[in-house]
């Protein structure tokens, strides 16, 4: 019966599908910034969605469910990354589908700098600078103190500024 939606699940599955169709790519973008790999990003998104699916009935089609999935995504990444993908591919390879934006070399450098960050630091950076969460919200998602968020952010930003991408940008 794997993969088969039966009986009373049909209705909620429809709503869940709509949510995934609408917000799945946004979740994937965050996951990609965490993993730096398209396949691992998809794996992480599906894991977070699977863990959250059981709460759909409770939380429903509101912003609350997306927040819940995001928290799950980040905590799964931070907590399980080493176990799940032992031998993590800290790749600096460019994505398969390049996007318009900064110079290719600069993006390569920034991505390389991201891969040098610890999982916690990378999660903090994505939450603070991509998800636009406050320090307190970031701490709540990651289950750590605000002080930890501050220190992790400071170290991460310091490391990223050492990358040629940001140095070059600042020099312009």
């Amino acid at each position: 019966m794997d993969g088969v939606v039966v009986g009373a699940e049909l209705e909620r599955a429809g709503s869940f599908d709509d949510f995934v169709a609408a917000r799945g790519d946004a979740l994937w973008r965050s996951a990609w910034l965490l993993t730096g790999d398209a396949h691992l990003a998809e794996d992480l998104v599906q894991t977070a969605l699977a863990k959250s699916y059981g709460r759909w009935d409770r939380i429903g089609d509101t912003g609350g469910f997306e927040a819940y999935v995001r928290r799950t995504l980040f905590t799964t990444y931070v907590s399980w990354w080493r176990r799940r993908w032992n031998g993590e591919r800290a790749t600096a390879e460019l994505p398969e589908t390049p996007t318009p934006g900064p110079d290719l070399a600069l993006r390569r450098d920034l991505l390389a700098a991201l891969t040098q960050l610890s999982r916690g630091q990378r999660a903090v950076v994505v939450l603070r600078y991509v998800e636009d969460l406050t320090e307190r919200e970031t701490a709540a998602v990651l289950g750590c103190s605000v002080g930890t968020v501050k220190s992790q952010t400071a170290r991460a930003i310091s490391a990223l500024r050492d990358s040629s991408a940001l140095r070059d940008e600042e020099d312009r």
Partner: protein, 461 residues
């Protein structure tokens, strides 16, 4: 552009276009179902099955990593935020996991009802100091020969502390606050279940006190929401002094049964009542209650959703341990006003009422000073003889028997009762053996034909 904005823009620009993934939702559902099946089968097993399961299946398996047993030393990152306590499904009272100690790193602990008398489990989970609680469990001494002790068959609550981990796995810890007072973790049995129980309560209370999350506005409970036979309304975590929304449920010590009449308690009145209740520290009388005196009960909810009650049997606070007393003047004024809104229930009778029920209704109507309604309970062929000059009437029905000799009244019936008319000053009055004779009227309703006050029954003072 600030450094932060620049970094933000560059990060956004770094992300490639997501590949088309039409089956993402179906794949997630599929993964969810497979994970749940593994969790259900392998993580938590009912004790009866555990003996077999322990020998054949690796337990405490991560939902995403089949076959991997969580080592006791593993410490997943605490993730309190995703814990959604209201969505948590408690394990079975005798659920068992394949570990004899509680691993560190749980993200939340839920208190659930176990085997024993019931209680109301809190809906919020403990997410702070979780490892400390695990340590309290693990430090309790092992029982050398569990199951072979002869223990008192007293009764008390049983509980399950469900330690939840980031991967969705559960380690249930069962405790019996009765009998052999056992604490169970996996196949091990330990002593002193009171210690984790009381520590959980203390930690959850501290967590609530420190929480900056605004508690939800609770639903105002209704009369009858509390069910002490099932433990509904018995909170181990919160007390009645913490209620923030309440209903006053008013009842009288009547002969006829009636549901308590409920009236919402405004917040200001509730504050007055709770402050007054907290001021009583002396033993309260538990003598018979005058039927004119309303009994009340505050049925309330705390900001965390705990259902709690405050008892005012026979018009006096009673904390359940015999401590309380009559309300002070300010609280009494509030109570009088609220009780006035509920009114006193008026018993009614119909063709389905028994002769005994009609006598009970008659007594209640007399005590409510509803003399016209009491008069209406007399048979048209009878000679009404209502008591006068009484404070209240007591009647304790002792027997009911049919009377064949009075065929003029359908289903003629004699109801004997210990009966007395207590004067307004409450002076002691002996009971008499009264016989109420009743027969059905043309509508088939039992009515009173005659009341015979017999001999005095000595009952002592």
């Amino acid at each position: 552009m600030s450094d932060d904005d620049r970094l933000r823009d560059q990060l956004q620009a770094l992300v490639p276009h997501p590949p088309p993934t039409p089956g993402r939702a179906a794949a997630a559902r599929d993964l969810h179902h497979r994970s749940r099946r593994r969790t259900t089968v392998a993580v938590v097993t009912v004790a009866a099955v555990a003996v077999v399961a322990l020998a054949t299946a690796p337990l405490l398996t991560s939902g995403d990593e089949p076959g991997v047993t969580r080592p006791a030393t593993q410490t997943p990152t605490p993730t309190p935020s995703p814990a959604d306590p209201e969505a948590f499904t408690c394990p079975a009272p005798r659920a068992q996991a394949d570990t004899d100690t509680v691993p560190a790193g749980a993200t939340a602990v839920h208190l659930c009802a176990g085997s024993g008398t019931g209680f109301d489990a809190p809906t919020d989970a403990l997410v702070t100091d979780v490892d400390e609680l695990a340590g309290v469990v693990n430090r309790q001494p092992l029982v050398t020969a569990p199951g072979q002790n002869v223990c008192q068959t007293d009764l008390g609550p049983g509980y399950v502390l469900a330690f939840e981990y980031a991967d969705g796995s559960i380690v249930p810890v069962g405790g019996d606050l009765y009998g052999c007072h056992e604490l169970r973790v996996g196949t091990s049995t330990r002593g002193h279940p009171e210690r984790p129980w009381s520590r959980f309560i203390a930690l959850l209370r501290a967590q609530r006190a420190a929480s900056r999350v605004a508690p939800r506005i609770p639903h105002r409970p209704a009369c009858g929401d509390q069910r002490f036979d099932t433990g509904r309304g018995i909170s181990p975590v919160a007390g009645p002094d913490e209620m923030v929304a309440a209903t006053l449920c008013v009842s009288y010590q009547t002969e006829t049964e009636h549901d308590p009449q409920g009236v919402p308690v405004p917040a200001r009145d509730l504050a007055i009542l709770l402050a007054d209740r907290a001021s009583h520290h002396d033993p309260v009388s538990t003598e018979d209650c005058d039927p004119d005196t309303p009994s009340w009960e505050l049925v309330g909810a705390t900001a965390w959703g705990d259902l709690v009650t405050a008892d005012g049997w026979c018009g006096a606070w009673n904390d359940g341990r015999g401590i309380g007393g009559p309300p002070g003047p300010a609280a009494q004024r509030v109570l009088d006003r609220l009780v006035g809104h509920t009114g006193r229930p008026v018993p009614t009778v119909d063709a389905t009422s028994t002769a005994e029920q009609v006598v009970a209704a008659y007594v209640d109507l007399l005590n409510a000073d509803l003399r016209d309604e009491a008069l209406a309970l007399w048979h048209p062929l009878g000679t009404p003889d209502l008591p006068v000059g009484y404070g209240h009437v007591d009647a304790k029905v002792e027997s009911v028997r049919p009377l064949r000799s009075i065929s003029a009244y359908g289903d003629a019936t004699a109801v004997t009762a210990l009966y007395r008319e207590v004067p307004p000053d409450g002076a002691f009055t002996d009971y008499r053996e009264a016989t109420f004779t009743l027969g059905r009227d043309q509508q088939g309703v039992f009515r009173i034909v005659h009341v015979d006050l017999g001999k005095v029954v000595p009952t002592g003072r």
